[in-house]
């Protein structure tokens, strides 16, 4: 009771000042498509939040300096050892600051999860063609965020100034130094001198905790702003067109679902952070330019670069008598090509498919064999590179000489991608030709979620009422149509009725004209029928939604909504 009253008071007083009601109404009713793959981006978002939360804690104790210090504390093997302040403070965070190790390890796990979710999210966008017009902008922002995430992961990994990360840093230094003409100056400016310098840790620290996270936060905001404006794309299915979005309501269904996902991300990162050791820098020891750890593996998201460095043959050559060192091709050129390819993809794809139209409906991956084949080939290459980064570990496990492992991986890197891509291409073509769903069909889950829509007549977990017979209207319809009616409160509502699904419009409208305009936008070519209010529907979901909404209000989801609403309000006023 009280919460409801408070919420209404709050909404009213905000509305008095910002006139938010029309916008809030629209935003709360926004429809989000139901498909598991749409959660990947959310996982990345929530991992970023976890990174900021745990990172702020670490920042309060971490000393970003290589000044000589003596570590004294609970970790006996290093008690009294002279190390850099950065290393000593990391050991202190791990042993002497209560909950410090939990935060450190959770931060590191969240970083792995963050990049993992971004990569899977990118693959989803790639294989379903979600990057096509009008969403190229968000693809470019996404690729930028991936690059920044990789870079921030690398700087974070390097600032504790331990032996393992110091080795990685030295490799990155050498790769940068290998750039023709400008490499030497570039790397001396970045590091403040010849490796190792005292400036490296403080500079990486500022970049790690301030510059890159700030840019990331800004890009995330733009990414989501564009998403809200453009709305989600959706997989094809009954009742779905290029001019609508089919799915669940943002409020309350998606609000509760996404908060659940946030809590899952927190649960998983803290479970890993508490139970699974990661980056035990006290075992590696402090950085020393004359020592190296073996085996030495970087975090997985930079391992493809390390793998490329390992696999690429020793090719060094001279231009005008100047040296182009061997890390240049696998390090700089390969990495540059990877990101150039990612940035250019929407435009290459558009040119290849001669497709400049705006798309709201996604391609099932197999609908586009060339894209699928190319993507699979590239993935195969990266899989070999990842394996190559662990060639010494593989050799130890299999008890074979590491150079043999290397030789085999070199062959695989050349021989695997093309057959893998061609196979994917042929399978996709076969599936497309016979219209079947089967091997390699990545959208099976989509079928399931389409199947779920059948339950529309009983949204509260009731038994499905059967295909094509939404509750209250028994007679089947023979042609798809839009039904329009005036409900008991005098508001206008509409719904789509097809052979297998019935979809209710997300909002009520004060006038018939407005309702009809919305319906005609969503289903331009269908006939619109004015009908008597269907019994029971849609009042029931509204009642359920209202009740659940009231309850969810207690969770505080309103704050998030208010932010979105505010954004929309500003946009609407600008128009």
């Amino acid at each position: 009771m009280i919460t409801r009253w408070l919420l209404r008071r709050l909404a009213r007083s905000v509305d008095d000042r910002l006139r938010t009601a029309p916008v809030v109404r629209r935003v709360l009713a926004a429809v989000f498509p139901d498909h598991w793959s749409f959660m990947l981006g959310e996982i990345a978002l929530y991992s970023f939040v976890v990174l900021v939360l745990t990172g702020v804690f670490l920042t309060l104790f971490f000393a970003p300096s290589t000044a000589d210090t003596v570590y004294t504390g609970a970790y006996a093997p290093l008690d009294g050892a002279r190390t850099s302040a950065a290393y000593a403070s990391t050991v202190r965070l791990s042993f002497d600051i209560r909950a410090g190790l939990l935060m450190r390890q959770s931060h590191h796990w969240a970083a792995l999860l963050f990049v993992g979710a971004i990569v899977l999210h990118l693959l989803r966008i790639f294989f379903t063609g979600a990057f096509r017009r009008p969403r190229e902008m968000n693809w470019l922002i996404g690729v930028t965020m991936l690059a920044l995430a990789l870079f921030n992961g690398f700087t974070g990994y390097s600032i504790p100034d331990d032996l393992l990360s110091g080795t990685g840093l030295r490799i990155l230094y050498s790769v940068t130094q290998s750039i023709p003409l400008v490499g030497e100056w570039l790397v001396f400016l970045a590091a403040g001198g010849e490796f190792p310098t005292d400036e490296m840790v403080p500079r990486m620290f500022v970049s790690h905790v301030l510059l890159v996270p700030a840019v990331l936060a800004a890009l995330i905001a733009i990414h989501l702003g564009i998403l809200i404006r453009q709305k989600h794309s959706q997989f094809p299915g009954p009742g779905r067109t290029e001019n609508n979005v089919v799915g669940s309501l943002f409020w309350p269904s998606y609000t509760v679902r996404t908060l659940a996902l946030f809590a899952w991300v927190l649960a998983v990162t803290f479970a890993l952070g508490g139970l699974a050791q990661i980056n035990p820098v006290w075992i590696y020891g402090p950085f020393d330019p004359a020592q190296a750890t073996s085996p030495a593996q970087p975090d997985w998201y930079v391992a493809w670069g390390d793998g490329a460095l390992r696999l690429f043959p020793a090719v060094e050559f001279r231009i005008f008598g100047q040296l182009v060192p061997s890390p240049f091709l696998p390090g700089v050129v390969f990495g540059g090509l990877t990101f150039a390819g990612l940035y250019l993809w929407p435009f290459l794809d558009r040119r290849h498919g001669r497709d400049r139209l705006a798309h709201q409906l996604l391609d099932p991956p197999r609908a586009h064999p060339a894209r699928l084949g190319f993507g699979v080939a590239v993935l195969a290459l990266f899989a070999v590179l990842l394996a190559a980064a662990a060639d010494d570990v593989i050799a130890t496990i299999l008890r074979v000489p590491v150079l043999d492992v290397l030789a085999i991986l070199r062959v695989l890197a050349l021989a695997l991608p093309v057959p893998a891509g061609v196979t994917a291409y042929l399978v996709a073509r076969a599936l497309r030709a016979n219209g079947g769903r089967g091997v390699g069909d990545l959208t099976r889950a989509d079928v399931r979620s389409a199947g779920r829509l059948v339950c529309v007549g009983s949204p509260v977990g009731g038994a499905p009422t059967g295909i094509g017979t939404p509750e209250g209207t028994a007679e089947p319809v023979d042609a798809d149509r839009v039904e329009l009616w005036r409900d008991r409160t005098g508001l206008w509502r509409w719904r789509y009725r097809g052979a297998s699904v019935s979809l209710t419009a997300n909002r009520a409208y004060p006038s018939r004209a407005e309702a009809e305009r919305a319906a005609r936008t969503a289903y331009g070519d269908l006939s619109v029928w004015e009908v008597a209010p269907p019994g029971g529907r849609p009042g029931a979901p509204a009642a359920v939604a209202a009740r659940a909404g009231r309850a969810a209000g207690r969770v505080g989801g309103y704050l998030a909504l208010a932010a979105v609403a505010f954004w929309r309000a500003r946009r609407d006023r600008r128009r």
Partner: protein, 288 residues
Amino acid sequence: MTGRDAPDRRERPASAIAAAAFGVSVLGAAGFAAVYAAGGQTQLEGLTLAVAFAGIAFGLSVWARRLLPTGGYVEEHEPFDSRPTDLRLAAEALTGPESPVRRRGLLTMLALALGALGGAALFPLRSLLPFDRVRPVHALRTTPWAAGVRLVRADGTPVRPADVPDGSVLTVFPEGHRDRGDVPAFAVRLDPARFTVPPSGGEVAGVVVHSLLCTHAGCPVALYLQGTARVLCPCHQSTFDLLAGARPIAGPASRALPGLPITVDADGYLVATGDFTAPPGAGFWSLK
């Protein structure tokens, strides 16, 4: 049908489950606080916190799946092509009579000014490499090794040829420059009769000294394979044959490990007679 006043039979258990999950979350949070207060223990801290969040997560998931509608709604998505009048009016507003874009001359000068400012703003970037430091090319080409500089161990003690062990390598530094990045070298005892290529830095009683830094990307080549007299880099497995002038024989490195020319001083300790025979570590553009 579920209505305001007649909760569904299936709804009761669902909300009971969600409520119980939130209750578990309370226990997890309390557990975390208790573990922390009792002195802290990483595994238990993680576990209790995870339980607290998992309780909320599970409760909300049940709530979303069982108490809230899934699917079944449609929202219109208006196409993004604006009406032609809107487009025309926007274009007119942008390029109308008072629009700055009509002032060609002014714009050119403004662009020039901004460009000049942008160029000038790049200059402070040079401060990133402090002016009292050595310029890149010189720094990369030279090291503190020079004629008469003693070879010392990590603890600073000088080395006699007889101190170099059989069967392993000894990491050495120029006296007084232990922490520089480009100086580490290793001394190793080999049988001069087995040399296929004479060592670039020469040998003193079978002792040969080379830069420790891999010529691929600068990692210390830490692994010595005694039988074949090879060293292996742990980073990308470049292998160097010490009997053949430390030439790379496998992996991505393509230049030999530079040698350190050595001799013995009056007290019988190893000293350098000059800098490395080539710049140590990873290659660079102006490496000769």
